[in-house]
Amino acid sequence: MLARSAQGLYWMSRHLERAEYLARMLGLQGRTLIDRPPGEIHFGWRRLYGSLRRRPPAGDIDPDPDDDYTLADSYTLAGDLTFERSNPDSLRSCFAAGRENARQVRHCISREMWTSLNLAWLRLKDLDIQDIWTPEPESFYGEMIRTLNAIDGVASATMYRGAGWQFLRLGTFIERSQLMAALAATHLRILETDDGSEWTSLLKACQALDSYESVHGIDRRPDRILGLLIADTLHPGSLADSLTSAESCLAAIGAQAGSPDDAAAAIRLAGRLRARIAFDWPDSRDQLSLIDGVGQGSRDLHDLVNSAWFEYPIGTPSA
């Protein structure tokens, strides 16, 4: 397929994946506002901004036990990460970028997928933080998660499993692996207390509570939680699952590429990253370094995909 179209599909799914991540994290923050202590709320904001490698609009978040300040801060931060047009990491910006990519490659996606995406955009584009804050912010984020999952489902049900589909899925899994690695690493870095509530919120943020309870029951242990999110291939969205899926996409795409050397390197790297999780994680004494390393590997994988299939140097025409 046309390289630029493949690139458009890849970026479309990356942006939509990021939008879904933001909706999950912000939905969780919305829930904590109802009855959680200020410390947990502040922790959630710091973890979210840290995972995005961004600083909050007014600088670092100072934990303040005062409820009024906490709520005012949360309003500002939710606005920044939900609707702020100048913030490329806001949910609205990510959705807009995903849709704009979809608009450019509309002829490469199914009509049903486009319609789902466009209808969601029409509902989202004119909203602002005031529109969702007073009634109940969580319900908006819940609706966004369901909408994005529905778009994913429509794509899955209607798109031909050709090269376009593989590049679309590849974008999803590379974005997901980078976000999961960043979230887990930030969580470990900023964790100060270990009373369990932050770990529970991590499970909820990753929509992994049900998976965890089905495997480990209701007794929540940090090592098990981290193990599920990083290394359990049966949990959709775990780092291991994302990398395994990315490797499958690359295998389906094959090494015939604009730059065959980079394509082969991308396939090898995906395999190595998946193997690191599978074989190094269980014995790892420095889990943070391992997660950081895999996160960096995932960013390198993106670079190789780009140079192998999208923006390769031009050699001699082959056909």
């Binding site: 397929m1 046309l2 390289a3 630029r4 179209s5 493949a6 047009r85 807009a96 704009e100 608009r103 450019q104 509309r106 002829h107 486009w114 319609t115 466009n118 209808l119 029409l122 090269a163 590049f167 795409i253 015939q256 590429a257 604009g258 299939w309 999208f310 390769y312 031009i314 001699t316 025409p317 082959s318 056909a319």
Partner: protein, 477 residues
């Protein structure tokens, strides 16, 4: 709906009602259906039609400093209907016209026999800004310089008239198809009762036409649609057509020329391109041949075209035949090349380059429409009766300064068709743009982008200036 208050004017042809005020025979079903519907019913139908455009994002985009604004071309839900016999007249006239225009373009880039024989002045051809000297001596497959033509046709009390030929990059066909989809779905019982001819095979016909123009010896030709990109206001149409014809949607940066051949960048390396349905103006096609600052084109493309290794549709240089001045000579071209009388008339046109026409134009500015030869889209024109004395004086000065740059035509009483305006049905002026395809043979789907001047009394149907669209129903016999 109460249609008693619908205004008729003896001097203006009404598409639905005859001069006696009774519905025309072929419009009776539509008339009865409208009479049966309540105002609320019709308003709901209109809302559904408009909403379907928004939901599918059938739009053009306006870019500025802020976030891009996607705008929907207004579409009126009441179809315009013409008979099969009327359509046959249009079809025959357009087929004849395009045959002559293709012969004319081939001629002016070869020996220019028509100039040597004194049918058309040399300066009309060589002085035309759209004349491309780079195309002299180039042979195109099947003599097809214009593969896709969009001709603007108006109707007056005297019948159909050709207002303009669009031979370079005609647009609007996606709206023809989108209008049909939306109006048919929302008036499906009426559509079924009326027995409307189908236009759904346009994409197949366009694909066949374009592939028939592939260079010889290419067994499985690679077809691409070349777009300026997402920032072009017609990008929706480019995307829509690429899907309809199964073409790759490419931008200039996706293509390169190597060894006189054109290649596109795929995920699996470079692939040779055989036919380019280009939606970019000549000026921007190739920075080595035309505008050197063009970032939209492909360096070396014209070299590949001249070598016959790739086909551009439409060919560069076709603008020489849709210049507003050259337009006046199309009836003579038909007689000259085909030995036939035109089946569709032109609008009477004064060429201000002729002293007597200039004098008449300046003396009768208040009664004429005066247009700049090089402009399109309804820009740069003066509608005499609607202009103030000051505007006419200013315009007259421009005409005097460059007479060859202007033509003048009588103000036409464009036909009117019923439109839903608020909660009333009122007449509005309309034209139509059918699309003619020419490859090995000439083919026309029985439909058109019917444009409407939505502002009461306005004659300007261009979407950029307050115009909208309507579905055109051509009935089976």
């Amino acid at each position: 709906m109460n249609l008693d208050a619908y205004e008729l004017d003896d001097a203006i042809y009404d598409e639905m009602y005859g001069a006696d005020g009774a519905p025309r025979g072929h419009c009776r079903t539509l008339h009865d259906a409208l009479a049966e519907l309540s105002g609320d019913d019709l308003e709901r139908i209109q809302q559904r039609v408009t909403r379907s455009f928004a939901e599918e994002s059938i739009s053009f985009t306006v870019y500025g400093d802020e976030e891009p604004q996607e705008r929907i071309i207004p579409v009126d839900c009441i179809p315009r209907i013409i008979t099969g016999a009327q359509w046959r007249q249009i079809e025959a006239g357009l087929t004849q016209r395009l045959a002559a225009l293709n012969r004319f373009i081939a001629d002016v880039y070869a020996g220019a026999r028509i100039v040597a024989d004194g049918v058309i002045p040399a300066e009309m051809v060589r002085g035309c800004p759209h004349y491309r000297i780079e195309m002299r001596g180039v042979a195109v497959p099947h003599g097809t310089w214009v593969a896709v033509c969009g001709t603007d046709i108006v109707r007056t009390v005297d019948g159909f008239r050709v207002l303009e030929d669009n031979l370079r990059v005609p647009s609007g066909v996606s709206y023809m198809l989108a209008n049909r989809g939306a109006v048919r779905n929302n008036l499906w019982r009426l559509y079924r009762r009326c027995r409307v001819r189908d236009i759904g095979n346009y994409g197949h016909l366009l694909r066949d036409t374009l592939l028939s123009l592939a260079p010889a010896g290419r067994d499985d030709p690679c077809l691409v649609l070349l777009t300026p990109g997402i920032f072009n206001s017609a990008f929706y149409e480019h995307m829509f057509l690429a899907r309809e014809i199964g073409a790759y949607l490419v931008e200039g940066r996706d293509l390169l020329v190597d060894g006189g051949r054109v290649y596109m960048r795929t995920t699996r390396g470079l692939r040779q391109v055989d036919v380019i349905y280009r939606r970019i103006d000549d000026d921007f096609l190739d920075p080595l041949a035309f505008r050197p600052d063009s970032l939209l084109g492909v360096p070396g493309l014209m070299n590949a075209v001249r070598n016959g290794n790739v086909t551009l549709a439409n060919a560069p240089g076709t603008g020489v035949a849709d210049d507003k001045g050259v337009y006046a000579y199309v009836p003579d071209m038909i007689r000259y090349y085909l030995g036939e009388e035109p089946l569709l008339d032109n609008v009477e046109t004064l060429l201000c380059r002729r002293p007597e026409d200039l004098e008449y134009t300046l003396d009768n500015l208040a009664d004429l429409v005066v247009k700049r030869v090089g402009e399109s889209g309804g820009y740069g024109m003066l509608v005499g009766p609607h202009a103030s004395a000051r505007e006419r004086d200013d315009y007259a000065a421009q005409v005097r300064a460059d007479p060859a740059g202007f033509i003048a035509q009588p103000v036409l009483a464009l036909s009117r068709a019923p439109c839903l305006v608020g909660d009333r049905i009122e007449p509005r002026h309309v034209d139509l743009r059918p699309f003619v395809l020419h490859g090995r043979e000439t083919r026309i789907v029985p439909g058109a982008f019917c444009r409407v001047a939505l502002v009461r009394g306005s004659l300007v149907v261009n979407s950029s200036q307050g115009g909208g669209g309507k579905d055109l129903w051509v009935l089976e016999d």
